[in-house]
């Protein structure tokens, strides 16, 4: 029998202590142990990007990490952005440009794009490509997501939480 392990993880600023099996995927930990179900799982082999979270600030596939590896680290998920009543400018931009349809891949896109915009809102074509290339969307054809990123960059550069 494999012994369970204790981990301490900071998720969205909150500290969680949990006892888990080493093989538990970080995606399952976030979704089913912490009940933060905004992070979605689409392929579990690192291609679709739906499970992207920020791990120590970097966009990372949560299906390609074990929860034990998060011990002592910081995670941000989509729940750390705005609320339904007070959306983050990036979320606002997604709504305004119709950059989501079924919404299943959306949190992965948000968490991939967020750190890029937080680093700089002056996006080159290359940055824009980089922001999008690791996430699959089957509904939107990506066009409105491209527009959303640009709109979000404008919103965030003017500092307006409009």
């Amino acid at each position: 029998m494999i012994k369970a392990m204790d981990i301490t993880v900071t998720v969205n600023g909150e500290v969680f202590q949990k006892t888990i099996e080493p093989r538990l995927l970080l995606s399952d930990f976030i979704r089913h142990e912490l009940n933060l179900s905004g992070t979605h799982v689409g392929c579990e082999h690192g291609v679709c990007g739906a499970c992207t979270i920020l791990f120590d600030g970097m966009p990372t596939r949560s299906c390609l990490m074990f929860a034990v590896q998060a011990d002592g680290h910081e995670i941000r998920t989509v729940e750390d952005l705005g609320t339904m009543e007070d959306l983050h400018p990036l979320q606002e931009a997604f709504q305004e440009t119709h950059a989501l349809q079924c919404g299943f891949c959306t949190s992965g896109f948000l968490m991939s794009i967020l750190p890029i915009l937080e680093e700089s809102t002056d996006l080159s074509e290359e940055d824009l490509k980089r922001a999008m290339e690791g996430n699959l969307c089957r509904c939107t054809g990506y066009q409105n997501i491209r527009d959303a990123v640009q709109l979000a960059a404008e919103k965030m550069s003017s500092g307006g939480e409009s």
Partner: protein
């Protein structure tokens, strides 16, 4: 798609890690970035009994240059760190240029330089580049350490000279000679897919502008990086004229024995190899010819 159970160990020193590898041998797998290993575990194609996680080995995460200009990269340095590093951009522009072509940003944030090499995937860019740049790998075990030239490191699909108790700890890339040009050309179905064929070319010109050294190393055409030695030799002592380059590129076919898969037949791979070799050489010669240039 959930992994089978395993014992998890996260050593904090290299010494400790090597001890575990010695103890568990073939039952253990080293977990570096995990971006290739964990998908295999989720599919249950890989079911290691023990995972030795190297992510707490801060001592293996570094980028520095030696006095002689040799670039040293710690095995656990993450791709995004290498991608953004000025020293790498200056000393090994071929690596700098290749980094964004590796998988996706979300994979590069976690994947490691050493992990990619030790995984020995014949479709990987870094393995090919390290061979083209005459890189060396420091491999360590409780039995001691050895430096293995990149060209001798890869044995086959996912297989290297690393013994089960041994791990890759450091990569060394020699300084580039003056008048050296480089290029990595590859074609993939989608941007971040494994390349159907790729080739790294490095050429050094003498003071007369003739080629004194040339390397052409391919990816995705065999069970590891494949060097076209004879084709490269055809360039020695020659100027990089379109005719010379074309002849060398045509000749690579003789030295390659690619396999077919659903995305490319043998013929198509050989054709791409010729086309990409020509494009890579053209670019490399052009870069070598412009004194001091490091730009496209």
């Amino acid at each position: 798609m959930k992994p089978a159970p395993f014992e998890y160990i996260a050593p904090t020193t290299v010494e400790e890690a090597l001890g575990h590898l010695t103890e568990y041998g073939y039952d253990a797998k080293v977990l570096a970035g995990g971006q290739s290993l964990i998908p295999m575990m989720n599919f249950r194609l890989a079911q290691p009994a023990v995972l030795v996680d190297l992510n707490k080995l801060a001592e293996l995460s570094f980028i520095r240059s030696e006095k002689d200009g040799e670039l040293r990269i710690g095995a656990m340095t993450r791709h995004f760190q290498v991608e953004r590093d000025d020293l790498v951009a200056e000393h090994a522009p071929l690596i700098h240029e290749a980094m964004p072509k590796i998988a996706t940003p979300q994979i590069r944030s976690r994947g490691t330089f050493g992990g990619s090499i030790a995984h020995a995937d014949p479709a990987a860019e870094l393995t090919t580049i390290c061979v083209a740049l005459d890189g060396r790998f420091r491999c360590q075990s409780v039995r001691g350490e050895r430096w293995v030239p990149a060209k001798d490191f890869f044995l086959g699909m996912f297989t290297s000279v690393l013994e089960p108790d041994e791990m890759l700890v450091e990569i060394a890339i020699p300084p580039m000679a003056p008048r050296t040009g480089w290029a990595l050309e590859e074609e993939a179905r989608r941007v971040h897919d494994f390349a159907l064929v790729g080739v790294g070319a490095v050429v050094t010109l003498d003071e007369q502008g003739c080629c004194e050294r040339a390397r052409l190393v391919f990816l995705s055409v065999g069970d590891g990086p494949v060097e076209a030695v004879k084709a490269a030799e055809m360039l020695i002592g020659k100027e990089g004229t379109p005719e010379i380059i074309r002849a060398a590129a045509e000749a690579v076919t003789e030295e390659l024995d690619p396999s077919a898969d659903i995305h490319a037949s043998v013929k198509y791979r050989l054709h791409l190899a010729r086309v990409l070799a020509r494009r890579a050489l053209e670019k490399a010669f052009a870069r070598a010819a412009i004194p001091g240039t490091q730009a496209a």
